[in-house]
């Protein structure tokens, strides 16, 4: 037998030795493990109260997951863990990490992908796009004529009391009218399987780098699934982002210089900043690399100063310009806001977008969609109490142990309290804070987020997930990246999925769809026929060719594996 063939057979799971020990590449399993491993991975998968996206209440596998389920069911537990190891190793090597309590950890990527049918995506994507368009219109309005306030759609108090409403941003007109260049709309599925918007992120939504690197790692680990399914590709993202940023350049700039502004290597999303800059081929700058002179922004290079036209900033509003905002900030560039006001530089996403993803404003978004777009919202909100509404505070305080309470300007799950899981003392403290500052909080019923099988200690178990699709607005249309970031809460029953709270992620596959029209240029016409025997021979050392013949002869006579 040829050695190559031998190697392939040996690579399956491991070899069962005569003493009952399975020698596998990654671990030594006992015979009992081996037998257990042979059982179907889904055998004792519990049916939960939440909507499970793979397995329905009657134990039937949902259509979109059929292929993934059968492929996983064929794997043994050992094999599945070996694949999980591969994923984790690949992430450590790539440096796909996030900052957890001051420590750099590999971002946990689960081996079981989340799958969405094409039809389902055709419902979600327009919903996300609609939401982005409405928020875009709202921001243009709120930093301009404020008609929505005048018409009573949104109370003035909600706008002006938002910590992220920046008067300094009023009157800054973005060149192509786009303020929300990149957005991440967090979606969840409730216990009936319906999609709902949990929150909007239009300031500096992060996580898209995980979508890109998850896909790459999964394709290398599960080649057979990718071969069998038509999964919509995500590699286009960086190109779309760059063209959206280029389109947002100030008027009259032919060949705009785009940069990504990062707070620096210690930021938790630094990996993402480098990935975006790298894949767009643009400079990754820190605040100290930029300076303002003559109403323009410049960066310091070895060739002298170079003008910067578009800044994709990953620095929060408060830190971006010490002249306008926090004067102790070292992360920004003094005078940036002046340049933006002069129209000499575009800041993406725009300053002051936070007013649109304030969690109290969130409750008005369905109205804003009707007001600005004249459309019915495609994706509904989660029911939410505004504590300043008459009677709401009392009702919420009364039912605090069954609600989720969130601070309106928090992100990353900070300050969020899940009533059923909180202690009495925690609830008492919370009651006090709600009474003090009702504007600062919202309350929602506990949404039983949908679950997807996830590999944990005990095997595959249902774990709660959400979805953050990413949308890029280039001024003409809103592109929604197929899939998005699925975050999964790894502890059992945990409903908070943020990575800063110990969450992991899943690769999100959107199946099927039309064959995209490829860019046809003058140089690529129809596929040319492959000319046979027209190829140029590959040379080799004459002695090696002789050796080759002899080795083959040896092989034939001895049939051995010597080589």
């Amino acid at each position: 037998m040829l050695p190559a063939v031998q190697a392939r057979r040996g690579a399956r799971l491991g070899v069962l030795r005569r003493d009952g020990v399975v020698v596998s590449r990654n671990a030594t399993l006992t015979r009992a493990d081996y037998i257990r491993a042979m059982a179907d991975l889904f055998d004792d998968y519990p049916a939960g109260t939440a909507w499970d996206e793979m397995i329905g209440p009657g134990g039937e596998v949902r259509t979109a997951y059929r292929h993934v389920h059968s492929a996983l069911a064929q794997l043994s537990a050992g094999e599945l863990r070996a694949r999980a190891d591969t994923l984790a190793r690949s992430y450590l090597k790539q440096g796909v990490t996030f900052d957890f309590a001051g420590e750099e950890r590999p971002f946990p990527l689960d081996v079981v992908p989340r799958v969405m049918g094409g039809d389902e995506w055709e419902h979600v994507a327009p919903g996300v796009s609609q939401r982005v368009r409405a928020l875009e219109a709202f921001l243009a309005d709120v930093y301009g004529p404020q008609k929505a306030v005048a018409d009573g759609v949104v109370p003035r108090s909600v706008v002006v009391s938002s910590t992220h409403f920046h008067r300094a941003a009023r009157g800054i007109e973005p060149p192509n009218g786009v303020r929300v260049h990149v957005s991440g709309i967090d979606l969840v599925r409730d216990s009936l399987g319906g999609w709902r918007v949990l929150e909007d992120n239009v300031r500096v939504p992060s996580g898209v780098s995980y979508v890109l690197s998850n896909r790459r790692a999964m394709a290398q680990t599960f080649p057979e699934l990718f071969a069998a399914l038509r999964i919509r590709p995500v590699v286009d993202y960086s190109r779309r982002l760059l063209s959206a940023l280029t389109a947002a350049a100030p008027h009259g700039v032919d060949d705009p210089t785009v940069v990504v502004l990062t707070p620096g290597v210690f930021n938790s999303a630094y990996f993402e900043h480098t990935l975006l800059a790298r894949t767009m081929g643009v400079e990754l700058v820190e605040g100290r690399d930029l300076y303002v002179s003559g109403g323009r922004v410049w960066m310091r290079t070895t060739q002298g100063r170079r003008r910067v036209d578009v800044i994709y900033r990953r620095v929060d509003d408060e830190f971006i310009d010490p002249v306008t905002f926090r004067s102790d900030s070292l992360l920004g560039c003094p005078g940036l806001m002046t340049c933006a006001r002069l129209g000499n530089v575009t800041i993406a996403n725009a300053i002051g977008n936070g007013v649109a993803d304030d969690k109290l404003l969130y409750t008005y978004v369905p109205d804003l969609i009707r007001y600005h777009l004249g459309e019915e919202p495609i994706l509904p909100n989660v029911d939410t109490w505004r504590l300043e509404d008459p009677g709401a505070l009392e009702e919420v305080l009364d039912r605090l142990d069954e609600l989720v309470v969130k601070p309106v300007d928090g992100s990353g799950g900070k300050g969020l309290v899940v009533g059923p899981r909180a202690t009495r003392a925690e609830l008492d403290v919370l009651r006090g804070r709600l009474r003090e500052d009702p504007r600062g909080w919202i309350a929602q019923p506990v949404v039983q987020l949908s679950t997807v099988p996830t590999l944990v200690e005990d095997g595959l178990r249902p774990r709660h997930v959400d979805l953050r699709p990413f949308a890029v607005n280039d001024g003409d249309s809103v592109y929604v990246l197929p899939g998005g970031l699925t975050r999964v809460a790894l502890p059992e029953g945990q409903l908070v999925v943020n990575s800063s709270q110990g969450g992991g992620s899943k690769d999100t596959w959107v199946l099927g769809g039309r064959v995209p029209r490829r860019a046809q240029t003058q140089h690529q016409s129809l596929p040319q026929a492959v000319p046979k025997d027209a190829s140029v021979p590959i040379d080799s050392h004459p002695s090696d060719v002789r050796g080759q013949v002899m080795q083959q002869q040896q092989q034939r006579t001895t049939g051995g594996s010597t080589c």
Binding site: L2, A534, I538, G547
Partner: protein, 309 residues
């Protein structure tokens, strides 16, 4: 230096580069077939095989990744597959063992020893990564421990010619398969050139620029022109021009095809890419023959039988 030794050194350079380039090519090829649901696997695989000088499989056969990997990746007996090239590189190092530094020999020998355990078709990506790493180590050892004498020049000469040849083949895969083939981004990525390209041109990428980058870039070490320049430099170092009117064959072949690329409008080349790339490959082949005739003349063919290898 003995001709026989010089020939082995030349081929060490070529084989290691061949393993490296083939691994890059296959890695991207496999990845693209996996990630792009609309890829036409059969057509793409066939054109790849054809470009790599392999017989076209019967028309009724559905050619898939596995076949391509077997033929171009795991075949130990053909010096033009990855495994075969590594085996052959080690054989050549063994023949020139007294000239090749111990470090280099051990590196090539270790690669050969690890080869069976690395060929795990379950995860071809790991295999390709390993091959690339081994090739990088070989290059690093050659760069850092070899005197810049004929030893070094022969190895670099082999490497440069092989690299020009393989990059030309890679560019042909694009032209042959048309829109079904790998995109320019994919080709750039397979040469490790994607990030360098993006940095050079930032957002303004176009097919012409990508083709120009891989063909003509004077700074990127995997472009065809750069490799041909390097081959010429090595040839010049091996034998400075003495005669005032003639030039040796190898340099003539390489110089001719290089100037043909360098001093013509890019669009003209891109329009007839398969033809132009064939010229590059033929020139590399002719230069290799000329080098053999000039530096490695062999006597009567000797054939060893039995256990000699």
């Amino acid at each position: 230096m003995l001709s026989r030794i010089a020939e082995s050194l030349f081929w060490i350079g070529r084989y290691v580069e061949r393993a490296d380039d083939t691994a890059r090519l296959l890695d991207v090829h496999v990845q693209i077939l996996l990630e792009d649901p609309w890829a036409e696997e059969d057509l793409a695989c066939r054109s790849l095989l054809s470009v790599m000088d392999r017989p076209d499989p019967p028309a009724d056969l559905d050619v898939g990744r596995e076949h391509v990997l077997d033929v171009l990746g795991y075949d130990r007996f053909s010096p033009s597959s990855i495994a075969g090239a590594l085996v052959a590189a080690r054989e050549n190092a063994r023949r020139a063992r007294e000239i090749v530094s111990t470090e280099l020999w051990e590196c090539l020998n270790a690669s050969w020893n690890q080869l069976p355990s690395q060929m795990r078709p379950a995860r071809p990506h790991d295999y390709f990564t390993w091959v690339r790493e081994r090739a990088a180590i070989v290059t690093g050892i050659i760069e850092s421990t070899t005197s810049r004498d004929d030893t070094w020049h022969f190895m670099v000469l082999g490497r440069s010619i092989e690299r020009a040849d393989m990059t030309a083949r890679l560019l042909t895969t694009r032209a042959l398969a048309g829109s079904a083939g790998p995109s320019w981004a994919t080709l750039l990525r397979s040469c490790g050139a994607h990030e360098a390209f993006l940095r050079t041109y930032r957002g303004n990428t176009s097919d012409e620029r990508a083709a120009g980058f891989l063909l003509l870039d004077r700074l990127f070490p995997r472009s065809v022109v750069y490799s041909l320049n390097q081959a010429e430099a090595s040839l010049a170092a091996l034998e400075p021009i003495a005669d005032r009117t003639t030039i040796d064959d190898a340099r003539r072949h390489i110089g001719l095809v290089r100037t043909n690329l360098e001093y013509r409008p890019l669009l003209e080349i891109v329009d007839a890419l398969p033809r132009e790339m064939e010229l590059v490959q033929r020139a590399c082949s002719a230069a290799s023959d000329a080098i053999r005739a000039r530096y490695f003349p062999s006597g009567a063919e000797l054939t060893w039988v039995g256990e000699a290898l």
